[in-house]
Amino acid sequence: MKKKLLGLILLLGFGSAQAQTDIKFEEYDLPNGLHVILHEDHSTPIVAVSVLYHVGSKNEKEGRSGFAHFFEHLMFEGSPNIERGEYMKIVQANGGALNANTSFDRTYYYEILPSNQLELGLWLESERMLQATVDLEGVETQREVVKEEKRLRIDNQPYGSFQAKMFGAAFGDSYYGIPPIGTMEDLNAAETADFTDFYETFYVPNNATLSIAGDIDPKQAKAWIEKYFGGIPAGTKEIPRPTEEPAGLSGEVVDTVYDNIQLPGIIMGYRSPKQGTKEAYAMDMISTILSDGQSSRLYKSLVDDQQLGLVIQSFPFTLENAGVFITFGLANQGVDLNNFIAAIDTEIAKMTTEMISEKEYTKIQNQLENDFVSTNGSMAGIAESLADYHVYLGDANLINTEIEEYRNIDREFILEVAKKYLRPENRVVLVYLPKNEQ
């Protein structure tokens, strides 16, 4: 009897319980403006130490594209207390891993260390914030390294030019018009004076968030944070921070690119709302409907049913002040690209004319819930999400509650947003054709 009852309870539980995450954290500001976020978790003896500087390619001066990212490379060159080349070695020789990345809106540095090395991590990051060394030797070596990175990720890759072309067309000559990697010309042009100015303007505590997650004793952590970061003076320069949304498109932009590729491809980008807005969440849901999973509309229609494509994927690329809703597809061998594009257009048009079904709505809620639960699987991921939510949306607790934003959006609103943004006049279409068809 007891067993049966248990089964019944389980059955009732099925489907009704909504996964929740409960990531506890505390946050505070130092007098110099540094924002600190701490998350304590003792399940593995590791700690993620990260610093987010609120500076990305959108803050670059004209003629200095790629500078924020180039600068990120230089920030591993050392300080008066860390010899050139030692920064990475110290972390790794002490059992840690480290890296950094630069986007349109931010530059992010992190170390994942054995938890008994937390103090080391704080010392390293505080040296970077207080007195990073930028010398000519470092500049010249890293200039070459960054150029190799550009060649590796972009210039030597099939379809690699799409970023520069898409953002160039979608955002014109605004601050989002050139991707963070920049241009070779501008990379060559960077001078020593630029570096000093950039460092003093942006690499200051009042433009940074220190986010720590893992096996920490918060009391001890706070004492060390005060010890290493408390004495770093706040920046005195004004921090240029563009907030106006780049002008919209004045009509559909279509460009054909002949590249060293075999399969013709298509990349569409609809200008879309900035991150954190209700409309942006709706665009996420539209993307889920269109291409998340093999039952998604684009996949089902183009890959499975009509067999026009090899790959079809849409993803909402949201930025601090704007967004581009990108759809990327590769046609199958021998398929006329026009048919392929027409099939995509049919599915997108359907999004703007018909409300999604109840069943689809439930499905995407489940998919989003699964994604949401899965993102918080690592200390590094938690530290990063906390910092991002704080900096971009002013609320670190979205790490626990953002799923509610999706639950609050109904089918009517999804249709409304689709209508508003998925218009041909609001998009860039890049057609990629093999060079030999030119």
């Binding site: 996964a19 003896p45 020789a93 008994n116 060649r151 770093i232 439930t362 639960v373």
Partner: protein, 691 residues
């Protein structure tokens, strides 16, 4: 207002004071290290032989099921790709569900489910755990192999191959693997569109029927689930699966190279060379050398602290990243290193790679480096244990490879015991610095010449077939006349050429089959006297050609003949003309500059030359020096068209004019080598000397 200024001034004072107390040059010491816990797992075996491994972790409300069939690698031959196609087909429908239904049900619960040739992975929220197992079992046990989906997958596979053709990394791994393991080995065979066309649905079905058996299958379960619950669910859905005997295979030996070889895949659009350097190794899972090699590899190229990264990126700036890795395998393992480097430093980068391999073999690492590498490895193990999947993969390895139960829990103490001598010893044993396979995918024209110093260069295409050296388009504005002008300048200038009134060139000639070298003498006198004589000591004159402007006489061992036919004489006239190339247009030749090609790795302008009589030949002028380095012509041989070529090298200055001191005539496999002994200019030859 006043107060506010005061407080901020005070705050500044305080912070300055705090700052002053801190000696930033002192690097913080670590707190006492915590133990790394490897975590527990449970293992069950069902009656049909299926092994279940469960790692409980309730941190997040999700669970994953990973099924692996432990089979031997399969050589697929002219149907390369059928095994992976069979794996994809599992996801395309079951006897209970169509593909649409599968798609819908998986997505509806927000789950993911992937299939491969010997695995299925399903993951999702814990609340859907039974649905996940049921889907997993349906896909793994009841595939329907729908014909329509099969055709679709073939089409996609062919598109996938097309897409890989321009991807430098695909090109690199294909050609690298082919050389390492050999074309007839499962790890070295390459898939083509034709192979895909050859695959039948029956091939896929029989693969599945032969190889999928519970006795060699492991299901690892990780996440928010109780071990007993997991076992119960799996028993419910997999308990009736019948065991059978699985086929086993034998494999050809992998190639052993005498010396280092270089493979070049030409990709004209490349702005970087993808370099892969390595060799096969004999290293099986569980081998005691593994932990030592891990340390050696860590020091060499395990990350940004590695010597390769520090040298090639941080010191030289050649690349964004340079790394090395090794792989243990039951059949044959691999050591390899690589980087993407810009075209012009390709050979320099290879030099640095090999230098670093050898340094590790010949010099002991420092205590500091050794400790740093060990710390790094301990740290990465610590980090990886954050994911419960790591414990699961350790548990699976113990089962699959029959490792001792304590293989991983003892790993750290074995790591600690690795010495400097161990590092050197494994570097010597596993880095075959004298017989490496080097694969470079890039702009052949710019990189190939520099790679010849490492070993013979062979060019391959996407399919692993040998191709000749690549050619490049002629730069805009460059004409045949420019090339000839460059040639004249390179020879010493028109003025110096004009000063040459007569010429005697003596050489020794190595002819295959002749026991002793022959002696050759060529004499010329302006305007058009020409004599060519070849003799062998003790045998006298073997061949003699004399041209006097009106007639040509040819004599040799087999007799002699005179040529007076005006048409035929024209070829002799051409031979007799001083520096004929410099006067091509005036002599009525038509020239076409077609491309930039290669002569033994040297870049050369390729010029098609057509004589007024219509004879065609191809001439190669070095891009670098301007000198003519080769000429080629084809003619009808007894067994079809043949090519004869003459290569010119070792140019030396005589009386202000460059002369090639080495000439090699090749015709089929036969090579005749001329080594010039003397060049005499203006020695006062008389007309009477030409008889």
């Amino acid at each position: 207002m006043m107060k506010r200024i005061l407080t901020s001034a005070l705050a500044m004072l305080i912070s300055v004071a705090a700052f002053a107390q801190l000696d930033r040059s002192v690097r913080p010491e670590p707190a006492p290290a915590k133990n790394i816990e490897f975590g527990d797992y449970d293992v069950y075996k069902l009656d049909n032989g299926l092994t279940i491994i469960v790692v409980e972790n309730d941190k997040l409300p999700r669970v994953s099921f990973s099924l692996v069939v432990d089979r031997d690698p399969i050589f697929e031959g002219d149907k390369a790709g059928y095994v992976s196609l069979a794996g994809q087909l599992l996801r395309q429908g079951t006897t209970n569900r169509s593909k649409d239904q599968l798609d819908e049900e998986i997505d509806f619960i927000g789950a993911s489910l992937f299939t491969g040739s010997s695995n299925v992975y399903a993951a999702g929220l814990t609340k859907y755990q039974e649905t996940l197992v049921e889907l997993l079992a349906d896909v793994a046990l009841n595939p329907s192999f729908p014909a329509e989906e099969f055709d679709k997958l073939k089409k996609q596979a062919i598109s996938g191959i097309e897409n890989a053709k321009d991807d430098p990394n695909s090109l690199s791994s294909r050609i690298f693997n082919q050389s390492l393991y050999g074309k007839d080995h499962p790890y070295g065979e390459l898939q083509s569109e034709e192979n895909v066309e050859n695959i039948s649905l029956e091939d896929c079905k029989s693969y599945y029927n032969n190889y999928w058996t519970p006795s060699k299958t492991y299901i690892t379960v990780v996440g928010d689930i109780k071990a007993r619950k997991a076992k119960k669910l799996i028993k419910k859905y997999f308990g009736d699966w019948q065991a059978k005997e699985m086929p086993s295979a034998t494999y050809p030996a992998v190639p052993q190279y005498e010396g280092t070889i270089v493979n070049v895949v030409n990709r004209n659009s490349s702005v970087q060379t993808v370099l892969s350097i390595g060799n096969t190794i004999d290293l099986k899972p569980g081998d005691p050398d593994i932990v030592k090699l891990r340390v050696a590899n860590q020091i060499l190229g395990g990350g940004s602290m590695g010597r390769l990264f520090q040298n090639i990126r941080e010191d030289k700036g050649y690349t964004y990243g340079a790394y090395s890795s090794y792989d243990s395998d039951r059949l044959v393992g691999e050591f390899s290193a690589g980087a993407s480097v810009r075209n012009e430093v390709t050979d320099s980068a290879v030099v640095e790679f090999i230098k670093e391999f050898e340094r590790l073999q010949n010099e002991a690492v420092t205590d500091e480096e050794l400790q740093a590498a060990k710390n790094n490895i301990i740290g990465s193990i610590g980090r990886s244990l954050e994911s419960p999947q790591t414990i699961a993969s350790y548990a699976l390895n113990i089962q699959r490879y029959n490792l001792p139960e304590d293989y991983y829990s003892n790993y750290l103490s074995r790591l600690d015991a690795v010495s400097k001598e161990d590092v050197m010893a494994v570097a010597k044993k596993y880095f075959h610095t004298n017989s490496l396979v080097i694969t470079a995918v890039g702009k052949g024209a710019e990189i190939a010449a520099g790679l010849e110093k490492f070993g013979p260069v062979t060019y391959y295409d996407f399919y692993g077939e040998e191709t000749g050296p690549p050619s490049l388009p002629v730069p805009d504005g460059m004409t045949a006349q420019n090339v000839l002008d460059g040639y004249i300048t390179a020879l010493g200038g028109q003025e110096n050429l004009n000063k040459v009134k007569d010429l005697t060139i003596t050489s020794t000639i190595a002819i295959p089959g002749l026991p002793m070298p022959a002696k050759g003498v060529t004499m010329r006198k302006r305007p058009n006297l020409f004599k060519n004589e070849m003799s062998v000591d003790g045998m006298g004159v073997m061949q003699k050609t004399v041209y006097t402007g009106k007639k040509a006489s040819i004599s040799g061992m087999g007799g002699s003949k005179e040529v007076t036919d005006s048409e035929e004489l024209k070829t002799y006239e051409a031979q007799a003309t001083f520096f004929a190339e410099t006067q091509y247009p005036a002599l009525g030749y038509t020239l076409e500059l077609t491309s930039i090609g290669f002569v033994d790795g040297e870049k050369a302008y390729v010029m098609e030359v057509t004589s007024p009589e219509g004879d065609k030949s191809t001439e190669f002028y070095s891009v670098e020096t301007g000198l003519k380095i080769k000429e080629e012509s084809s003619f009808e041989g007894p067994e079809g068209p043949m090519t004869a070529s003459t290569a010119f090298a070792d140019y030396r200055l005589v009386n202000g004019v460059m002369f090639p001191f080495s000439m090699t005539i090749s015709q089929g496999p036969q090579k005749i080598k001329f080594e010039v002994k003397t060049v005499e200019v203006n020695s006062g030859l008389k007309k009477a000397d030409f008889n």
